[in-house]
């Protein structure tokens, strides 16, 4: 087990190093000068030069890369060109929305998908199974931003139960914060829950048709006992993979939903920073997201090992 963990750790570090280089180079070649963007159409040449100097844009690419990576290693993500505040602080603020939102959506999606998937699989071919499959088909097909707008129309504009968007702020209390995140979390969770339900169902059906299940049934276990004791555990690997991918996606991919609900999350920060050519912010946030994805994958790898003892033994 230790060997397995070490191996995963080494690959994690290499991935991070390569990612930092790719991100930096990719973003540095984007055309557009942040100083010109800030000063607009009436700026004079000497003003531009003065601002570029203040922002530290005049150093070589190598210098800027090493100072960026060096800073990150000690937790210093640099200072935003436009906002003039530390990037770490900005990311920290946005995290308080993006992380709870992703967790909320993932929780909703899992809470819906598990029972729905197991229920459908255990009644394969029945009307209930068909119903679940039909609804999830729809859930996958509906674009989440459209669904979000629909919810705003119904629950915010017509019924007035929720505000149309925005974040109340955690200082208003946990409930008020969660309330602002409810519609966005549902919008994010709908397609995720649908996918997860389908994966759960098909993985469980695959497992249920395997030999060891027949053996277990032959031993005299009831269908229910087989399902809960043997099949579910073995069906978990693909499900865990999907959950891991979904969490990364929810953290980074909520940009559109954040826009629809005007939530000040990470996605919106990247969106604004790209158009303002606030490269240091873009680089740092993207790097952080890569880090999160890699960490989630690492955790999923460990979870595999926990559910599947065969993985621990192998090289």
């Amino acid at each position: 087990m230790l060997r397995y963990v070490l191996k995963r750790l080494v690959s994690l570090v290499i991935s991070l190093a390569v990612a930092s280089l790719v991100i930096f180079l990719a973003i540095e070649v984007v055309p557009g000068d942040p100083a010109a963007y800030m000063l607009g159409m009436n700026a004079q040449a000497d003003t531009l030069a003065a601002l570029r100097d203040q922002l530290g844009l005049n150093g070589s690419v190598f210098e800027r890369y090493t100072s960026w990576v060096g800073g990150m290693l000690v937790g210093d993500f640099g200072t935003s060109y436009t906002y003039r505040t530390p990037v770490a602080e900005m990311i920290g603020d946005r995290m308080w929305i993006s992380l709870p939102l992703a967790a909320y959506a993932l929780t909703l999606s899992t809470v819906i998908a598990f029972p729905a998937g197991v229920w459908a699989a255990s009644r394969r071919g029945s009307a209930a199974d068909m119903g679940v499959m039909g609804v999830t088909q729809l859930g996958v097909a509906i674009p989440n931003f459209w669904f979000a707008m629909l919810m705003v129309l119904v629950f915010a504009i017509n019924l007035g139960w929720f505000s149309a968007g925005g974040f109340a702020g955690w200082e208003q209390g946990f409930l008020a914060g969660m309330k602002s995140l409810t519609l966005p979390a549902i919008a994010l969770a709908l397609p995720q829950a649908s996918i997860l339900t389908r994966v759960m169902r098909s993985s469980l059906l695959d497992t249920l048709s395997e030999d060891f299940i027949r053996t277990a049934r032959a031993k005299g276990l009831t269908r229910r006992q087989v399902l809960w004791r043997h099949a579910l555990r073995n069906a978990m690997i693909p499900v865990l993979t999907i959950i891991g991918m979904q969490f990364s996606f929810l953290l980074a991919g909520a940009i559109i939903i954040e826009n629809v609900f005007f939530l000040p999350g990470l996605g919106r920060l990247v969106f604004q920073a790209i158009s303002a050519r606030d490269l240091i912010v873009v680089e740092s946030v993207v790097m952080l997201l890569v880090f999160a994805v890699i960490m989630v994958n690492f955790a999923v790898d460990l979870a595999y090992a926990a559910v599947d003892p065969r993985l621990r033994g192998r090289r």
Binding site: A36, M41, T82, Y83, R84, A164, G165, F262, S275
Partner: protein, 494 residues
Amino acid sequence: MEHVNVTRGMASMLALVAGVGMAQAKTDIVVGMQLEPPHLDPTSAAAGAIDEVLYANVFEGLTRFGPDGAVNPGLAESWEISEDGTVYTFKLREGVTFHDGSTMDAEDVKFSLDRARAADSANAQKALFAGITDVEVVDPQTVKVTLEAANGSFLFNMAWGDAVIVAPESIENIKTNPVGTGAFKFDNWVQGDRIDIVKNPDYWGEPAKLDRATFKFISDPTAAFAAVMAEDVHAFVGFPAPENLPQFDADPRFQVLIGSTEGETILSTNNKQAPFDDVRVRKALAHAIDRQAIIDGAMFGYGTPIGTHFAPHHPDYVDLTANSAYDPELAKSLLAEAGFADGFTTTLKLPPPAYARRGGEIIASQLRAVGIETEISNLEWAQWLEQVFTGKDFGLTIVSHTEPMDIGIYGNPEYYFQYDDADFQQIMTDLTAESDPAARSALMKQAQEKISADYVNGYLFQLAALRVANAKVVGLWENMPTQANDLTAVYWQE
């Protein structure tokens, strides 16, 4: 502070329980805006959003723009101008304090003006201060500003958001904690979300009627619509979905305010790039464009046609739209005369705003009708600045020039559309030196006629200021003579 939060927390809990929005408080307002300021220093960035939050609310200058665009006394209560027009002696108001409690005096004025014109200044409108040779503190209430040469626009220039008075003590953190002299104090900025300002109880002038104002940043047009409809915001300035305005107009809960802005929207033309270096081609371009079709198609009818680079609501505006009336046949014959009977192909580079993207498609089809093919490319602002504005690598582009009274850009041959005309430059030189209002007015008319006759750019329309507000909100500016949302006179009607 603690009890405020508790109260607000309880209120939102109640709202949660009741399942409805908070009861309308009569002393605060939430104003929606599409763009968020990059930072909060109006004296070191071009972003209009900074002024839209802070101008007149938090920061004030020596002079200030009134709702009608007139230049009124601000922190200077009066001034004297020397006979030759080169020395301005400003008498400052008594008893003005910054929000941190320190006194605003002549030293602060000197600091502000010197900072803006310094060699390492990051002021986006540094040209406003170009003529200043000396700023002298006579006594705490008196400042003497000496100019190189008489400048008839000096008081106008001092009213810009880029010329507001700041204090040396608070300059270090101005970008996140702006300290001004205005009727509102900066309170809080949740980046990506909102900025709160609160009433300044120690204001020198007429106090603000509201206790608190929140600017909420909502970039998505659909989200903006939903926020107004759900009454999450009480007013939305620069409303990004003009197609929805009739719906608000029909709803008694709302009022729709359509005003004018300083934004001349033009089909900017590269005067140095062939074939646009031929005035006949530019004239053909002007006659090939159907302005009203662009206004109707791209702006849903909101906007005033213009025939030159000047705001139609200005008293000196000359209506020159007839110079470039829609006449595709004339355009074709002009092209033939210039040797382009079979037309030609050029580039049309479009920045992100809807007026450019939507207007660009319409213009492309109108140009195609007279034989001009355009290769459209959609650019982000940063790319547009680099390629078009700085690199001058374009044939045509569409952009709204939002600075007030900016016809002077035609006097700069290096400016991106590269109009180089000695006669026009002379008019600008004369205008700067002239302080007699009648003579200035005549020169401004002459300047408008000159660029219209030279067909420097395709003049499309004056951008409209589109706002939606709760029907009970009173006191919002009707027009936008500068990019500002002066909330000092805004209140809720009972």
